[in-house]
């Protein structure tokens, strides 16, 4: 069992660190986020030039075939520097959904080259995080597929050029069978895309499909295991991102405790605050440990994999939000303001906790798999 990065992963992490400092400095953050799509696209091309967009894509699909731990090394840096470009969605989740499947080649190529963003509509509002809850219907009309239904919340869909969407060819919401994956072009949706900005700068979408033309990715019907596995893989990248962010927020806080003075002394001399900083550090260690555990279980049997990933999702969700809240708290008023990076960490942690199934869903998955 190896629970440390190898030298290549360390180099990768270092290069993400340099890039983050250079392109995503805290002071420029408002401007970057205000620029939204245009700024994102330029960042995306830069990340492609560094080879990062190809990393999680399998070699057979023309990518670099990086391991889950490689992705972990990279994603930690995304979190540390709060890089808001939808890397995990476009380069981890979507390739895991469509990799090796006929029909997805062009999109994978465009993602790998940093020429497109894609997002996945595989969770519906009423599913509460369960990807088997698919009410969107797929129908074949004159030899072509058409989708009808609503995807209330498509993570990072606000800047996507294409969507990978789950839809049902038979059965009822909740059935494991009868689900297919389809590729929907942004243009085909017309005004069926409503866009939203989240507090962490990510851009989401609500998709309204009304007989929208779509391309089937593989033979529709048996896509659920693939969807579950893809989500687990993307969740692990999120766990790494969260861990990076937690460590950055903790480091900033410890630094602040050493510099801010009140009552004629450094506030870090107050034992109440020392203990809090220790609790934050313990939470970081928990997050790092469970992230390794979940990531290394990605190739295990589905039951163990799901249990490990859900455990990670729950615990990192809890400890990530806790750390970021305490980072804000220990900074006092300045922790609450836009200018300091800690408040951005809090916003990102809150959003990561909600994404891809909240704690309720993942706790119940752990409960089911534990009996």
């Amino acid at each position: 069992m190896e629970l440390t990065f190898n030298s290549e992963q360390i180099m990768l992490a270092d290069s993400v660190g340099r890039y983050g400092l250079d392109k995503w400095p805290a002071i420029n953050r408002h401007k970057l986020l205000a620029g939204e799509q245009d700024g994102f696209r330029e960042r995306w091309r830069e990340m492609a030039e560094l080879g990062w967009t190809l990393l999680p894509i399998a070699e057979d699909d023309g990518g670099l075939g990086g391991s889950a731990v490689d992705v972990m090394a990279l994603a930690e840096g995304l979190g540390r520097h709060l890089i808001a470009v939808p890397y995990v969605t476009s380069c981890v989740l979507v390739p895991a959904l469509i990799g090796g499947v006929p029909g997805g080649e062009d999109l994978l190529g465009a993602l790998g080259e940093g020429k497109a963003f894609a997002a996945a509509g595989v969770l519906e509002a009423e599913g509460g995080g369960d990807p088997a809850w698919v009410t969107t219907r797929a129908e074949k009309v004159g030899g072509a597929w058409q989708l009808t239904g609503i995807k209330e919340h498509v993570e990072d869909g606000g800047c996507a050029d294409a969507f990978v969407v789950s839809a049902r060819v038979e059965g009822e919401a909740g059935d494991a069978e009868g689900i297919g994956l389809f590729l929907v072009d942004r243009a085909a949706l017309g005004d069926g895309v409503a866009r939203f900005r989240a507090v962490d700068g990510h851009l989401h979408a609500r998709l309204t499909l009304q007989g929208t033309p779509a391309l089937a990715l593989g033979e529709p019907g048996q896509a659920l295991p693939r969807i579950v596995a893809a989500l687990d893989r993307a969740i692990c990248a999120h766990l790494a991102e969260a861990t990076g962010s937690m460590e950055a927020a903790t480091a900033a806080t410890v630094e602040y405790l050493k510099t801010r003075e009140q009552f004629g002394q450094r506030i870090g001399s107050f034992q109440a605050l020392q203990h809090r900083a220790v609790d934050m550090t313990v939470a970081c260690e928990e997050a790092r440990a469970i992230t390794w555990h979940a990531t290394l279980s990605l190739d295990a049997a589905p039951g163990s994999r799901q249990r490990a990933v859900s455990a990670g999702k729950v615990r990192v969700g809890q400890s990530g939000v806790y750390v970021a809240q305490q980072a804000v708290q220990l900074h006092g008023g300045v922790g609450f303001c836009e200018e300091l990076i800690v408040s951005h960490h809090l916003r990102r942690q809150m959003m990561l906790d909600m994404a891809m199934g909240g704690q309720g869903h993942h706790l119940s998955r752990v409960a089911q798999l534990s009996v």
Binding site: L123, F196, R206, Q262, F263, C337, E338, G360
Partner: protein
């Protein structure tokens, strides 16, 4: 909050309920439930409506234009307002400076300022904190140098909430240097259009504009604008301790509104064909929250009972402030959880639409973080309780 009332108080409750049965727009509901302050225009209109009814200053004595209500009546009033999704009145004039003026101000100051607070002719902001003086307020450095009949103000205040709306500021500044840092500080009232004042907005993570830096550069205000004696401003803050008990009590009563926000969201949200409200896991969480809230409201009743008897509450005001901020934070988080992942949709772009409670709940959850920082942070409240109640 459920109260057991006698006939007189029941009649009073009916009168208040009647008042709140109209005039509370639906558009306030989600923001109020999320603990978010309404816009200054909305709050000013609300204050004027209360003033017209003679209820502009519920916590003040009759001689200064207040209602002179008993603590029970106050509790009834706040409970009924909360029940109707009406807001908490803006507190900086009514609860912070008003009581100091009627306790320590000159007759001229009382005559001029107090009615203007009740009628919402003035909006007050509080200029206490400075970049170097937060929890340790006594380290403040702003100066008020005497020059004839004027004070000349210099220095920087920060976190001056609503300075961009306010017509007046009450501020603490040093009028002399004394051995004890708490001495030599004076409390001064100044119009916000005083030449030499400049404000700079501070952007905050909840994406709501509420606070500012306030720079004072040779700003002149008449010595007559000082409240009480020179150099004793720190002591006048003590009257606030009692008022803080009042503010904490009202905050807790209004916090009950959030339960309706959570419940509505949980009833509306269906998960796998069942309302979230009927999910045993979620229902247990909500029940736990209401248990803690009921307990906190019971603590508030004890504060109000102290007030009725004119008794000291010791550090229990601090306890209530502490628990209020914790429950406000927990409640907004639960509300966001009830809304589900769509709550991430904070700002609609290109003309898209959002249900009003979604951004309100999330904004409330972000804003809630500040309640354990301002007004004496949670750490400072712990210190106060350790010192005052436990003698540590």
């Amino acid at each position: 909050m459920e109260l057991s009332l006698d006939a007189k108080d029941t009649a009073f409750r009916d009168e208040v309920r009647e008042f709140f049965s109209t005039g509370v727009p639906d558009s306030w509901r989600d923001r109020v439930r999320a603990g978010l302050r309404l816009s200054p225009d909305e709050l000013t209109g609300y204050q004027q409506r209360l003033a017209a009814r003679g209820w502009g200053a519920p916590t003040w004595p009759v001689e200064y234009g207040g209602t002179g209500w008993t603590p029970t009546q106050l509790c009834v009033f706040w409970s009924e307002a909360a029940r109707a999704d009406a807001p908490h009145q803006f507190h900086q004039g009514l609860e912070l400076i008003g009581p100091i003026i009627f306790s320590y101000g000159s007759p001229e100051q009382k005559d001029y300022y107090l009615p203007r607070i009740i009628q919402a002719q003035d909006w007050w902001c509080q200029g206490y904190s400075e970049p170097g003086a937060g929890s340790d307020l006594a380290s403040l450095r702003a100066r008020a140098d005497r020059d004839g009949d004027d004070y000349v103000l210099n220095g920087q205040k920060t976190w001056t909430s609503y300075a961009h709306v306010a017509s007046q500021v009450f501020l603490l500044a040093r009028t002399s240097h004394e051995a004890r840092r708490q001495q030599g500080i004076s409390l001064i009232l100044a119009p916000m259009d005083t030449p030499g004042f400049r404000i700079n907005p501070i952007a905050t993570m909840d994406e709501k504009y509420h606070t500012n830096e306030l720079f004072m550069d040779n700003a002149r205000v008449p010595v007559a604008n000082r409240v009480g004696d020179e150099g004793r401003g720190w002591e006048y803050g003590k009257v606030l301790l009692d008022r803080e008990r009042m503010v904490a009590a009202a905050n807790v009563i209004f916090l009950g509104q959030i339960v309706r926000g959570i419940t509505d969201a949980a009833r509306r949200r269906k998960i796998r064909g069942r309302a979230l409200a009927d999910d045993p896991g979620f229902a247990a969480k909500l029940a736990q929250f209401t248990v803690e809230l009921t307990t906190l409201q019971a603590m508030v009743l004890r504060l109000l009972d102290d007030m009725t008897r004119g008794a000291d509450s010791g550090p229990r005001g601090s306890m209530v402030k502490l628990r209020w901020s914790q429950l406000y934070q927990a409640g907004t988080a639960l509300w966001v959880e009830a809304l589900g992942p769509e709550a991430a949709q904070f700002a609609a772009l290109d003309g898209a639409t959002l249900p009003a409670d979604m951004p309100a709940a999330l904004q409330g959850a972000l804003y809630a973080r500040v309640t354990s920082i301002y007004g004496g942070s949670s750490e400072i409240q712990h210190n106060i309780i350790a010192r005052r109640a436990l003698g540590l």
